[in-house]
Symmetry: C2
Subunit: 344 residues, 2 copies
């Protein structure tokens, strides 16, 4: 079968690999019907840490082709959402709705020995706890939005939850990538009265406004902070969604947080320490976040999607086949595309 492998900086290839197979009795074999490229895939693409021949892709919808002998809730022919992390569904963390801390978690396409989703098929461990069956056909028009439940919409939602977005509050979203755009959707869904997007790309800003952004700040650094303060009577935003993952973005996020407010970090942190330890302290700002417990959020978000109230699938502005994956990486990396869907 074909799968996507990372070989080094700007060197991602679609290659023939041995067919995915069941290995454990709790596995499912899933034929990928939709996958996508994640902003976090661009870190190894740009030379960040990766292992030789890393299988890429951790977001998918697919058809169950076979299940191991211990799989109880799934069967061949089920269409399922595959969140980016596997989880057994039974450990204390899974029961507390934090499946990314599952005692047997694996990050698909990131953990060595696990398949990636930018492929024709993949082996999914802990299938009962990981996969979420959906009641639609494999070419349903909602497919792009449903696909975002595997990561990007769940991640935007997580940022908003951790940042404590609530009715009447002001939210600020740092970053206009696909996660930031989903953060705008999530902030609006949770009732934010005002949503300030910090971003610089015209196409993304336009989409953010359609999703509910009320204000846009395209400055950077201190100018961006000053502008958000102007917009918020000098107070800052109650809820800040950090959707980039750099130290500079985190610095901005903390600087624009209102006293008593919260920052939800969902950009994979490419910094060792959280800046502004003293300002965040004196403002009593909470900084939280991490990998979104996507599996646990699906049940919350799915109805709004099925009923058309949110359309995060609009972040996909390009669809490629497997052969188009390398060019999809290039396009996202050059900000030519917001997010690329893969239809193997």
């Amino acid at each position: 079968m074909k799968a996507t492998l990372m070989h080094g900086r700007h060197d991602v290839r679609v290659e023939s690999v041995p067919d995915a197979t069941l290995k454990e009795p709790t596995d499912a074999l899933v034929r990928v019907t939709r996958a996508c490229i994640c902003g976090s895939d661009l870190w190894p693409y740009n030379g960040g840490p990766n292992y030789a021949g890393q299988r890429m892709g951790h977001e998918a919808i697919g058809m169950v082709e076979a299940v191991g002998s211990e799989v109880r809730t799934l069967k061949k022919g089920d269409l399922v959402i595959m969140p980016f992390a596997s989880s057994d569904g039974t450990c204390p963390f899974c029961r507390e709705a934090l499946p990314t801390a599952c005692v047997s978690v694996h990050f698909m396409g990131n953990d060595e020995g696990y398949d990636g989703a930018q492929a024709e098929a993949l082996r999914v461990p802990q299938a009962d706890g990981t996969l979420y069956p959906i009641p639609v056909g494999e070419d349903d028009a909602l497919m792009p939005s449903l696909l975002t439940l595997s990561d990007v919409m769940a991640t935007g939602h997580h940022a908003a939850v951790v940042a404590r977005v609530a009715p009447g509050r002001t939210a600020a979203v740092v970053g206009d990538g696909a996660v930031g755009l989903c953060g705008v959707i999530a902030a609006r869904r949770l009732g934010a009265e005002r949503i300030i997007l910090l971003g610089r790309h015209a196409d993304r800003i336009a989409l953010a406004r359609e999703f509910g952004a009320t204000d846009v700040v395209s400055d950077r650094g201190e100018e961006a902070v000053a502008r958000v303060m102007e917009l918020t009577r000098g107070e800052g935003a109650h809820s800040v969604l950090e959707c980039v993952g750099t130290g500079a973005a985190t610095d901005t996020a903390i600087a624009i947080a209102r006293p008593g407010g919260a920052v939800g970090r969902v950009g994979v942190p490419h910094y060792d320490a959280i800046p502004l330890a003293q300002p965040s302290f004196f403002k009593n700002v909470v900084v939280g976040g991490g990998p979104a417990p996507a599996r646990a959020y699906i049940a919350d978000l799915l109805p709004d999607m099925l009923e058309g109230r949110i359309q995060p699938g609009r972040v996909f502005d390009r669809t490629v086949g497997l052969d188009g994956v390398p060019d999809g990486y290039r396009a996202m990396n050059e900000r030519e595309s917001i997010k690329v869907m893969v239809k193997p």
Copy 2:
């Protein structure tokens, strides 16, 4: 009158200064009946930032001697708790129970031009919003505990609140100073099932056990982390109260937090960035905290104190007159005393 002034490293003096007087119509003039020395006073005592002749002391109970023309809720003869920060009681932050972010906040004994509480008397700004009248006599036996509402018990409580202590959870308290000990009281009061104290001083540990600590870890650094992990089935503590304020203590606090848990920082941070940005992210640990909104907590905590359910006043193991204040600093600095009460 006599007041305490910081002149430099290990040079704190009680001197004659002009009598405190009303300056603004919203001021009260308070005769100090009890004050104390704070762990945070030891930072300037050990050479940390201070301004020449800084007035010291920010925790007090006292008698109102006079009020400005705009003071509405207080009168001469009222016995009041003075939280460490002044607040107007009417701004958006005060209304949201975050008086330390009040638009007209002043930190008593820290802000230049404001009196300190280790003195015979002091001017208190924004008296209506700041001072909390208490229904007891000035020599009531509960006075030590009531005095802790001005800062140290409120601070331990804040750490517990931010760290989301709740019934059945495991709390860990980093630091066995007076704040840490109050953190133990607060964690127990909020229902923690297990309370692990990280501390090394026999007298403080003994008191912590009386306050409700169920386990004590006296190792440091990686050994302390390993020991807490052993005690918590490898998971860590749901709630970590960081009651020291150093980077090393914060590092430990984050390292021992359970996935999905929370760290409440109340030690004034003597570090520029919060360590372990990646581990805290991948664990989805929230890091919050700051100056305790003491004024807003008094109504919650006072009944438990008046009815004897909590006795944070036991952290005071020495009482001095004003002349004894410099030796009180020395005793606290040398860990000869946990916390020193001042009876002018």
